[in-house]
Amino acid sequence: MSKENSNSDKKIRLDDIKTKSQYKAPDGYFENLTASIDKLIDEEESKVEESKFAKVVSLRKGWYYIAASLAAACVVIAFWVFPLNTDNNPELLLSKVSNDEIIAYLAYSELNTEDIVNELVSNDISVEEPMPEFELSNEDADALLDYYAL
């Protein structure tokens, strides 16, 4: 075999490559990496806290829906067991309570005016009776304004 043939037959082997190339990260990359990871973990932890809170709220909401459904079911059963034209009819019962007693009850309950208005609006209940009209003369109005220093 000639020398030329011997050279052309020589195969490159992996072991012939004596050095190993290495990728380089941009300058200063590793100095800041631990801090970046720390920051990401902080964000991750706050997400975990938020999702825990959201779970509790959603669980509570779930219980509210269950309680509301049970209450509605109870009302339906009550109406079924005690028909409307008996003494247990809520409207009939309520008609027996005087307005003064209702006002006294509301005054001692935790409901405020805003709650009552909201309840009326959300249930689309209109106050049919208009506000009582009253006459106020100019002199009386001036006297009231003077009295309250307005």
Binding site: K11, L14, T19, K20, S21, Q22, Y23, Y29, F30, T34
Partner: protein, 181 residues
């Protein structure tokens, strides 16, 4: 596992010391994990994304880590899975092929991200033609100089299958080097 690392793992399992212990582990493994991921993804930005996800996953799953296992292998398994998954996504989206990877390689060389001689560059190009998993096995053995047993833990593959895969990779690489002499 060294005594120092056992202590770190114990601290990682304790709520009062877990953050500090994790920072020490990040600091200890960040460079090694970076280079392993970079060899798979080639691009620095992709590597950075995969590296951050790796450490976030390692943090979130810290309670699942078995104290008797090797943290190194556990972390490297997360890292290599993350890198291969990202590569798969890119291939699926057709944003990455071997030509694109070669372009990334040449960009890395141009911007000083890879210091390679002519023959080393040929080796890098040959590597890009290997299937991803085989390339990973080759990298862990040839560049990271890991034992087959360690690679088996990381890749969840038998030592025999790894040896076969590595020798096949070497043959393919040598064929490429000889064809592109």
């Amino acid at each position: 596992m060294s005594t120092e690392e056992s202590l770190l793992i114990q601290q990682l399992k304790n709520e009062a010391t877990e953050r500090k212990a994790f920072s020490v582990l990040v600091n200890k493994y960040q460079e090694g994990v970076y280079h392993t991921i970079r060899r798979i993804l080639v691009d620095h930005d992709d590597t950075n994304d995969a590296l951050q996800t790796t450490f976030i996953k390692a943090w979130k799953n810290r309670h699942q880590f078995d104290e008797n296992a090797s943290y190194f292998s556990w972390l490297y398994r997360i890292a290599t899975n993350e890198a291969l998954q990202l590569l798969r996504k890119k291939k699926h989206a057709k944003t990455v092929g071997s030509e694109h990877m070669e372009l990334l390689l040449e960009t890395a060389v141009s911007y000083g991200g890879l210091d390679a001689s002519e023959v080393e560059m040929k080796l890098e190009k040959a590597l890009l033609r290997l299937p991803d998993k085989q390339r990973l096995v080759f990298n862990l053995k040839y560049f990271d100089d890991l034992k087959y047993e360690q690679i088996a833990e990381i890749t969840n593959t038998s030592v025999g299958a790894l040896k076969a895969s590595y020798h096949l990779a070497v043959k393919k690489i040598e064929d490429y080097l000889n064809k592109h002499e």
